[in-house]
């Protein structure tokens, strides 16, 4: 038995550590290589990027300058498209939170008749493969006259994010003691006051997790954005990146630079809210 603070050198520990490293190093390389490769392109002049070097001879920030100054015809609408991504992700986050919180409160706290059925319907949507739902949804958005309108993408992403959001929020609401609501009713609180003053503050950690989830989902979405939006002024940045590929002579170093810039916000958001996300989301994903 090892005493705390007393470090004993033992060959057994060294062997364990070595075995762990034998797993850890490949895991690190496997995870980082595509990301590093993207970064490498972003800091390489075109000649270096295409030469297969693992580090450029002349690392440069020139690619970032081209992107930020929009000095390539592929990047004409960089800021507009970036802004579209921001607006759509923020709208999806906000709308999902409003719709899902209201539904979860209604099902879990108010025990609305038929609530259980609505939850099952929502779960059913959660289990429709996303690319399968995209096919009829594309046509429906056309019927509604929403194609090429950012609302089509916002509503589509809210449809996809809500079921999981309702599910996770309902699980979290069920854990709040029912006595809280009863005490508030005794004090003469109306339903809306309970919602605003008792329910929302207690649900804050789950709301942060769900809001982050919806924002990341919308920010990272490619398929629905690519189907539903098409004008250069309306598309989000991933769609613009996909359109790069249509050209024969794609400026890959700029594609990777733009992609790298696009990948930074979600990574930052994820790390900022990681504590909420891991607990809040994995608990709801699969009940073991």
């Amino acid at each position: 038995m090892k005493l705390p603070g007393v470090s004993e050198f033992s060959w057994r520990d060294v062997a364990t550590e070595a075995r762990l490293l034998l797993i850890g190093i490949p895991v690190f390389l496997w995870t980082m290589i595509p990301i590093y490769h993207m970064f490498l392109f972003a800091i390489s002049p075109k000649e270096d990027a295409f030469s297969g070097k693992l580090w450029p001879d002349h690392p440069t920030l020139h690619n970032f300058e081209i992107v930020f100054k929009q000095q390539h015809y592929f990047l004409r609408d960089f800021y507009v498209q970036f802004w579209n991504s921001v607006v759509i992700a923020a709208a999806v986050g906000a709308l999902t939170l409003v719709i899902a919180t209201a539904a979860a409160f209604s099902i879990s706290r108010l025990k609305v008749p038929g609530g259980r059925m609505v939850l099952n319907l929502a779960l059913f949507t959660y289990f429709i493969p996303a690319a399968f739902l995209a096919v009829p949804m594309y046509r429906t958005m056309g019927n509604y006259g929403l194609l090429n309108n950012r609302w089509s993408l916002i509503l589509a992403m809210v449809t996809i994010a809500s079921p999981y959001a309702i599910w996770v929020l309902k699980q979290a609401s069920d854990k709040l003691p029912v006595e809280l609501d009863e005490a508030a009713v005794m004090d003469g609180a109306t339903t809306l006051q309970i919602f605003r003053l008792v329910y929302l503050p207690l649900m804050m950690p789950s709301l942060v997790a769900i809001g982050t989830y919806a924002v990341l989902l919308a920010w990272n979405e490619y398929l629905y954005a690519f189907l539903l939006l098409s004008n250069d002024q309306d598309i989000t940045l991933p769609v613009a990146l996909g359109n790069f590929l249509a050209a024969d002579d794609s400026p890959w170093e700029l594609l990777m630079t733009t992609g790298f810039i696009y990948a930074l916000p979600p990574a930052a958001v994820y790390y900022a809210f990681r504590r909420y996300m891991v607990g809040g989301l994995t608990a709801g994903a699969v009940k073991s």
Binding site: G24, V27, T31, M32, P34, I35, S51, G52, L54, I99, A100, A102, A103, F105, S106, L110, K111, V112, P113, G115, V118, L119, N120, L121, F124, T125, F127, I128, P129, A130, A131, F132, L133, A134, V135, P136, R139, T140, T159, I166, W167, T190, T191, L216, W219, N220, Y222, P238, L245, W252, M256, G259, F260, P266, A267, R274, V278, A285, K287, S288
Partner: protein, 290 residues
């Protein structure tokens, strides 16, 4: 006040508001936004899509389209091989990441990245790495062997394997995370007792870890199957369905028909997957709504 005399007329029900409590009225009001979204963007599209796909001629056309048969086989390969490889690795890595070491904790923070960042730049990055002329992989092969490397995305079998690799790269972190949660829920004294009895790691896995995680593992595998069916990016961004439309899976094929303005074929190809998807969905719903 009117008094009804005829016998077949029942007493009118009291007005709705008096039968429902205020809380229930609020319940309905608060539930309404989601119901509207559900009706407008799930029920109507799905119903409309099924109606479009109703003609048997669609299924004859699909049956005669060699790309469809190929896509169906590719989807099966993706599910059976891809998911099992992914889940076994995730199960193994969940044990690795559950170890208490500072550097492993840091590695787990990095390990999440593929899941958190958007698919498009990372998958395109892999696509360029595999480029036969300029890609870094063939550069390395050339500098070590002096031979040209393979044209990775030109052979359908290799290209499909690479797409499966990309899919694993992207979704492995999520499943590992879930399985770590499952592992941490196992009571530690079971392991301590086994240690005292002199059990080796395999016996500990076989008799403690696996029995405790079996249900979670199977649920994750099934859920992963459903989500993999909806994974469009891994194949589309890496191979675009090529070469010669030989690496399509059902999700990219549906979108391909859609882009060719053949919506009924697109829907029909999805309907063909339903006998397979619906039992999975039914099972998942049963498990989750217990």
């Amino acid at each position: 006040m009117a008094i009804t005399l005829s016998g077949d007329q029942s007493i009118p029900a009291p007005p709705l508001t008096s039968r429902l409590t205020t809380a229930q009225v609020w319940g309905i009001v608060l539930l309404a936004p989601y119901l509207l979204v559900f009706l407008a963007f799930v029920v109507y599209p799905v119903g409309y899509g099924l109606w479009l796909a109703r003609a048997p001629s669609n299924y004859v056309a699909l049956y005669n389209d060699p790309i469809f048969a190929r896509a169906a086989v590719n989807t099966l390969i993706f599910l059976v091989i891809g998911i099992n490889i992914k889940m076994v690795i995730a199960l193994f890595l969940s044990g690795f990441f559950a170890q208490q070491r500072t550097w492993i904790k840091w590695l787990s923070v990095i390990f999440i990245l593929p899941w958190a960042v958007p698919s498009i730049p990372t998958i395109l990055s892999v696509r360029f790495m595999l480029n036969p002329e300029w890609g870094v992989i063939n550069h390395l092969i050339f500098s070590f062997t002096g031979d040209d490397g393979p044209n990775w995305l030109n052979d359908p079998t290799v290209a499909l394997s690479m797409a499966i690799g990309v899919h694993i790269w992207k979704s492995l972190p999520f499943w590992t995370l879930i399985l770590i949660t499952g592992r941490l829920a196992i009571a530690q004294d079971l392991f301590e007792a086994a240690e005292v009895d002199g059990a080796n790691w395999w016996q500990k896995f076989r008799f403690i870890t696996w029995p405790s995680m079996q249900t979670l593992y199977i649920t994750c595998t099934l859920l992963s199957m459903i989500w993999t069916l909806g994974d469009f990016n891994s194949v589309y961004l890496l191979t675009g369905g090529g070469p010669a439309d030989l690496t399509h899976v059902l999700s990219t094929l549906g979108i391909r028909y859609l882009r060719l303005d053949q919506l009924s074929l697109a829907m029909a190809s999805i309907v063909c997957a339903m006998p397979f998807v619906l039992p999975l969905v039914y099972f998942m719903m049963k498990r989750l709504s217990r």
